[in-house]
Amino acid sequence: MKARVHVMLKAGVLDPQGEAVRHALGSLGFEGVDAVRQGKVIELDLTETDPAKAEAEVTRMCEALLANTVIERYDVELEAS
């Protein structure tokens, strides 16, 4: 089964990179972009086939390494492969 982890900066944590992207979009003539937040997507191929177990395991991975929970939050998305 596949897992996709979305890691985003927590609300309230200033995202200088997202802000630079917003400026660049503005200078390209794209109007109406109020805010840009940049994060990352991490895809995992798992041998586990049980969704509940897979989610629990990936959550442990997020807490241990994939996200820095001081500044980041994460969401886990699973799909059968």
Partner: protein, 222 residues
């Protein structure tokens, strides 16, 4: 006095740090990150600057999960001294030994220059040879030096006098211009500027010498 300098793939200030320790009178061992134990009798562990693991995932994140880190954690738990400089500071925040996190500089640029710092507290075995409020100049060389903490943690750091150094002027967006912080027991210091690159008058700067000299006379084996 004995110091251990940890070496990760991508560390590049490890030898500079060893030189600064030796000049202050330390015997120095270089310790590869795959080791699981520190050499016996180590008083101070140095976590050097550089780009451990190419800054993959987050700066310092992979290094903070290296085998040697549990030995470092044990050393710190026993009251041993540790100093993390630049990438080493990022590693120490990733391990949780120091609070907060280091994000991309607010101006998005890599900043590489000598900067003026204010010594925020002299009440530590790292900073006791400076006057609180004194200005020192150390070089910085970082892309991810923007120190971020929650309001609660910031209040604790201020209340417990745990901010060690501040940038004299805003440099990279760091909360409260924080350049370096101490652990609760004041024996673990992390800072983005490089005192080890300001520890030899022949190289132009020597304000860092006092930090290593202070540590050398602290003399407690964990």
């Amino acid at each position: 006095m004995k110091a251990a300098v940890l070496v990760f793939p991508g560390s590049n200030c490890d030898r500079d740090l060893a030189v600064a320790f030796r000049q202050a009178g330390f015997e120095v061992d270089m310790v590869w990150h795959k080791e699981t134990d520190l050499p016996s009798g180590v008083d101070v562990v140095g976590v050097p600057g550089g780009f451990s693991y190419g800054d993959y995932l987050r700066s310092g994140a992979i290094a903070a999960r290296s085998p040697i880190i549990s030995a470092l954690r044990g050393h710190a738990d026993r009251g041993g001294y540790a100093i993390g400089i630049c990438n080493g500071f990022q590693v120490l925040t990733e391990t949780g030994l120091l609070p907060g996190a280091l994000m991309r500089n607010a101006g998005l640029k890599f900043i590489c220059k000598p900067v003026a710092l204010t010594v925020a507290t002299a009440a530590s075995d790292f900073t006791c040879r400076y006057q609180a409020g004194a200005e020192v100049v150390f070089p910085v060389a970082h892309h991810d030096g923007n120190y971020v903490v929650t309001d609660d943690t910031l209040a604790a750091l201020r209340g417990e006098d745990r901010v060690a150094f501040r940038y004299a002027e805003d440099l990279n967006g760091s909360t409260d211009r924080i350049a370096g912080v101490l652990s609760e027991n004041r024996r673990v210091l992390g800072l983005m500027p490089h005192p080890e690159r300001a520890a030899d008058a022949a190289l132009g700067m020597s304000d860092g010498t006092a930090l290593f000299a202070a540590l050398a006379s602290a003399g407690v084996t964990a």
